[in-house]
């Protein structure tokens, strides 16, 4: 499966996503420059983290106008799998491919640390390798990751089981010390209504090798690798 890693000016996790996906047989990553008009016949798209266009105005606000985003939207509308990580999640929200917005962390500081997140839904094309309620660990590194949406949107996300990952404590519980950025409902990742666009603030590509401290992100890429052949469990 060919996966496009879109590089915007200011992307800085494009290389990490590329190298991470190379570890998975079946995934063939390819960089796509933001000025391209065409994704070039890929099977999935990753919008990586970083500071696309310097995050000027608002994170993701300018990136949504990059030429490539037209194709990404088109690809998503036709059911193509799209994953936005960190800045990529912000771009997906700004583009309207996912609802809500990512505000400044409630601490008003950039936060870089390992967090625990709970897999809330395994019925997505990205999460079948996890157990429902499984607590996994991976890094976050962002200044604007506080998920916000209107009450009716939140109700919809909750009602339709579209909250894929939630920040939790080590013991899997919500409450004191579980929420690193003030996200509503402890939201760390959500999926589109059609189930093919995933946005998440934590970095699964930084958690694919034990030497880096965690390999809990592997499940996501394994699912992606298996997707084309439809063998996702």
């Amino acid at each position: 499966m060919k996966v496009a890693v879109v590089t915007f000016p200011g992307s800085n996790c494009d290389y990490d996503c590329y190298k991470a996906m190379q570890l998975f047989p079946g995934i063939e990553p390819a960089f796509v420059w933001h000025r391209e008009q065409d994704l070039g016949g890929v099977d999935a798209v990753v919008l990586p983290g970083g500071f696309a266009h310097g995050d000027y105005l608002r994170a993701g606000a300018i990136a949504r106008f990059s030429p490539i985003m037209k194709s990404v939207s088109e690809f998503a509308r036709h059911g193509g799998p799209v994953v936005g990580i960190c800045n990529g999640f912000q771009i997906l929200c700004e583009s309207g491919l996912l609802p809500g917005a990512l505000l400044r962390n409630d601490t008003l500081r950039f936060r870089s640390l390992d967090v625990h997140i709970r897999v809330e839904s395994t019925r997505t094309m990205f999460t079948p390798r996890y157990r429902e309620g499984q607590v996994i660990r991976m890094p976050i590194a962002h200044g604007e990751g506080s998920y916000y949406a209107a009450p009716e949107t939140l109700a919809e996300l909750e009602g339709e089981g579209r909250i894929v990952f939630r920040y939790v404590r080590r013991d899997g519980e919500l409450g004191m010390g579980s929420n690193p950025n003030g996200s509503q409902h402890n939201i760390a990742g959500i999926i589109s209504a059609d189930g093919n666009v995933l946005g998440m603030m934590p970095h699964p590509e930084r958690a694919v090798e034990e030497i880096l401290g965690s390999s809990d992100g592997r499940g996501l890429f394994e699912a992606l690798a298996a997707h084309r052949t439809g063998v996702a469990a």
Binding site: G10, G50, G54, D55, R109, F110, E205
Partner: protein, 755 residues
């Protein structure tokens, strides 16, 4: 005798007052006259002022710096280039350097620190290396001052915002708080970059007829005379008056410039590249000419500028950030422009490389400055100053501290107080603001003895640390810097790395003070001795003098940035205890040394006494022993004893995980005064832990290396009691209480400070 070069009609006349304002002494001005064979015009005066400032010319330190060891078989590039480069094996080279941004950060902490990071990144990628890690070495006054909190918060945010945006992981560093740094914070940033050994490029203007091109951001009126500013003392009104001399950074442009520069270097279209850093276009063009043994002829009217009406003086001395000067092969200009355009940046041909050895500047074709390049870059007068130790410092060192050694029995309260000192407490509040995992190569992140990154495609890892205890250096500069070198090396072996090379940042007061010049000289001598002994040559660095305000001088702070190599990065070791029941072993000897300690500063409000002395031979044996133990896989953790002494080292290994700290059960046999035994900062000690089954092998290995070792006790249960007994005193505290103090001290101090 050349005829005087006519000035521009609007330029001021060069008078003795103007010369003085430009920081040139009458003697130096005489030398300018001799170099030119005539009087300089205003533009030329500005050029000399910048190039012969301390910052660019090293005029008060050069003679001393020559004493440092710089050679080793693995050194590819020593001092004199944008950064040092060493061979790390498997065809890879590591470029690394440390640089200060002290003065700007004292005036505008956020931008000062941010542009400090920007500058050091550019020094690395102009060598052809991709930046892969940064570290920062910071000094501030005490956090009870609102001004210090403002500086501290701004500096940390500035470093974070810049490095995070460019996407370079921060893997460590240090911060130290002492009133000596109240008005003069120190902000030193270190960067490491990787490249293949054949990808190195230098800042040379070579190939007559080749084209000088200004690349990256446009030139504006910011930071004019930053280099001269950095070479003066700060005054009470520095705040308002000097703010325009502070540059403003844009990390987004830096990221684009980084990618564009590496692409340019790999393209083969350029032969030289240099950051337009301190003294901007002036230093980059003249230094490249000087190194290439050539001349340059450039026209400032061709430099892309941000605003109209900039004079040659302003364009030549602007320190606008994110700019490079490259030397393109003749005929490759269009290719260079095409590569820059891809990254949405500009490039413009601004001059050519000439054969006549002159640094010649034109404005719309008319010559406005014409100076022989080599005397400009290398002819800066070099001084040897008078150096005499200040008697009041000698008195402090010789003070009798025996009465302070009296406390015995239960020292738990003193211990808890010490753990809450910002110098001991967790620095998580700082490094959580830095992305430490981007580039997916961080094996040991910030908060440990040293940071470790892997080298992709190999088994190897690179470790780096920065160290310097300014209090030790204040009380005894020669011994203090030896301790800094030893500690840096010790930190590296704790993570399993063999120390291989050093970059240094000499932060001192005004060299015109005999007491400061004494410190500088002693520090360089001590550094030379220790670096030679540990076979860690100095490959470059930075000198920052005049760190004083209103007569108050900082502690001499010769920061050591040291790098090491791990043959097998999967064996990298952390400092935290790993399992209940593991044995805790001390390698090295406890001595009754309390001078210069954090304990005295925190608990007795005293900076005095003889600081701990390094025994170089035993230090090296210790380090070899730990490396050997680590390579054999016998260790579960290793941690250096430094500020706060043995008990704080044990605490740091126990309470790193704030939710689940370990208890310990430790007994010491030494009959020393317990405050010295517990809190003294004797060098040459490493606390390790291992499985009980490995203890015998560990002791054998230590003995084989002539290293004294003592089994201190065991790691207790999580959330257990932290208990330590000695013949004359004890500490007994719940590990959760320690964890709370340790993790909450700095956040509590910073709360409500608006950050």
């Amino acid at each position: 005798m050349t005829l005087a070069l006519a000035g521009r009609p609007d330029d001021p006349e060069v008078t003795p007052e103007l010369v003085h304002q430009h920081g040139l002494s009458p003697d130096e001005y005489v030398r300018v006259l001799a170099v030119l064979g005539r009087a300089p015009n205003f533009t030329e005066l500005g050029i000399f002022s910048a190039m012969w400032s301390e910052h660019c010319g090293y005029k008060n330190s050069k003679r001393l710096l020559k004493l440092l060891p710089t050679q080793a078989p693995w050194v590819i590039q020593g001092p004199g280039e944008n950064a040092g480069v060493i061979d790390i094996g498997d065809g890879w080279a590591l470029a690394f350097k440390i640089e200060s941004h002290n003065h700007p950060s004292a005036v505008e902490p956020y931008q000062g620190a941010a542009t400090g990071v920007g500058g050091i990144l550019r020094d690395i990628f102009t060598m052809g290396a991709r930046p892969v890690a940064v570290l920062d070495s910071l000094r501030f006054g005490d956090l009870d001052s609102p001004r210090v909190r403002y500086l501290f918060g701004g500096v940390v945010k500035g470093i974070g915002d810049y490095g995070n945006c460019v996407g370079i992981p921060n893997i460590g560093g240090e911060v130290f708080f002492d009133r000596a740094y109240d008005a003069n914070p120190l902000v030193n940033a270190m960067c490491l970059g990787l490249m293949r050994t054949d990808e190195i490029i230098r800042g040379e203007a070579s190939g007559i007829g080749n084209v000088l091109m200004a690349v990256g951001a446009r030139t504006g009126r910011d930071g004019i005379h930053g280099a001269t500013f950095a070479s003066e003392e700060l005054s009470e009104d520095s705040d308002g008056a000097s703010r325009p001399r502070v540059q403003v950074g844009d990390p987004f442009t830096e990221k684009l410039l980084l990618e564009a520069s590496l692409e340019l270097i790999r393209s083969g279209h350029i032969v030289g590249i240099q950051d337009m850093g301190a003294a901007g276009l002036t230093s980059s063009a003249s230094e490249m000419a000087g190194r290439g043994g050539s001349g340059v002829d450039l026209d400032v009217s061709k430099v892309p500028v941000r605003e109209k009406g900039m004079t040659p003086y302003e364009i030549l001395l602007s320190e606008s950030q994110e700019r490079m000067l490259v030397v393109a092969k003749l005929g490759s200009e269009a290719e260079v422009i095409r590569i820059l355009e891809k990254w949405e940046l500009e490039a413009a041909a601004v001059g050519t490389v000439t054969a006549d050895g002159h640094f010649r500047v034109r404005e719309n074709g008319r010559v406005v400055a014409d100076i022989p390049a080599l005397p400009l870059t290398e002819g800066c007068p070099i001084y040897e100053r008078e150096g005499v130790e200040a008697p009041e410092i000698r008195d402090l060192r010789e003070r009798d501290l025996s009465s302070l050694l009296a406390p015995e029995g239960d020292l738990s309260a003193r211990f808890l107080d010490l753990v809450g000192s910002p110098n001991i407490a967790s620095k998580r509040w700082i490094y959580e603001q830095y992305d430490s995992t981007v580039r997916t190569s961080t094996v040991v992140g910030p908060g440990g003895d040293a940071g470790v990154i892997r080298v992709r495609g190999t088994m190897r890892g690179i470790a780096a640390t920065t160290d310097c205890n300014g209090r030790y250096c204040f009380l005894d500069p020669r011994e203090g810097v030896k301790a800094a070198v030893a500690e840096a090396a010790r930190n590296l072996v704790c993570v399993g790395a063999l120390p291989v090379a050093v970059t240094n940042n000499l932060n001192f007061g005004s060299p015109l003070r005999p007491s400061v010049y004494f410190q500088l000289r002693e520090a360089v001598l001590g550094m030379a001795e220790a670096c030679a002994f540990f076979e860690t040559p100095v490959t470059g660095g930075n000198v920052s003098l005049y760190n004083e305000t209103g007569g108050k001088v900082i502690f001499p702070t010769p920061v050591i940035g040291m790098v090491g190599i791990l043959e097998d990065v999967s064996k990298a070791l952390g400092h935290g205890f790993q399992a209940e029941g593991d044995s805790i072993v001390l390698l090295g000897v406890n001595r009754e040394e309390i001078g210069g300690s954090e304990y005295l500063y925190r608990v007795e409000a005293t900076v005095a006494g003889v600081p701990p002395r390094v025994d170089l031979y035993h230090e090296r044996q210790l380090q070899r022993a730990v490396l050997s133990l680590s390579a054999k896989g016998l260790l579960r953790s290793a941690h250096d004893c430094s500020e706060g002494g043995l008990v704080c080292a044990l605490a740091e290994s126990a309470v790193g995980d704030h939710e689940r700290p370990w208890g310990i059960d430790v007994a010491l046999a030494d009959a020393l005064a317990p405050v010295a035994l517990f809190f003294g900062e004797t060098q040459g000690r490493i606390v390790v832990s291992c499985s009980p089954a490995s203890v015998d092998k560990l002791l054998e290995e230590a003995a084989a290396h002539d290293v004294p070792a003592a089994v201190l006790g065991t790691v207790g249960p999580r959330l257990g009691t932290f208990s330590l007994r000695a013949p004359r005193g004890f500490v007994r505290v719940g590990s959760e209480d320690i964890a709370r103090r340790y993790h909450e001290a700095i956040p509590a101090l910073m709360e409500g400070s608006g950050r």
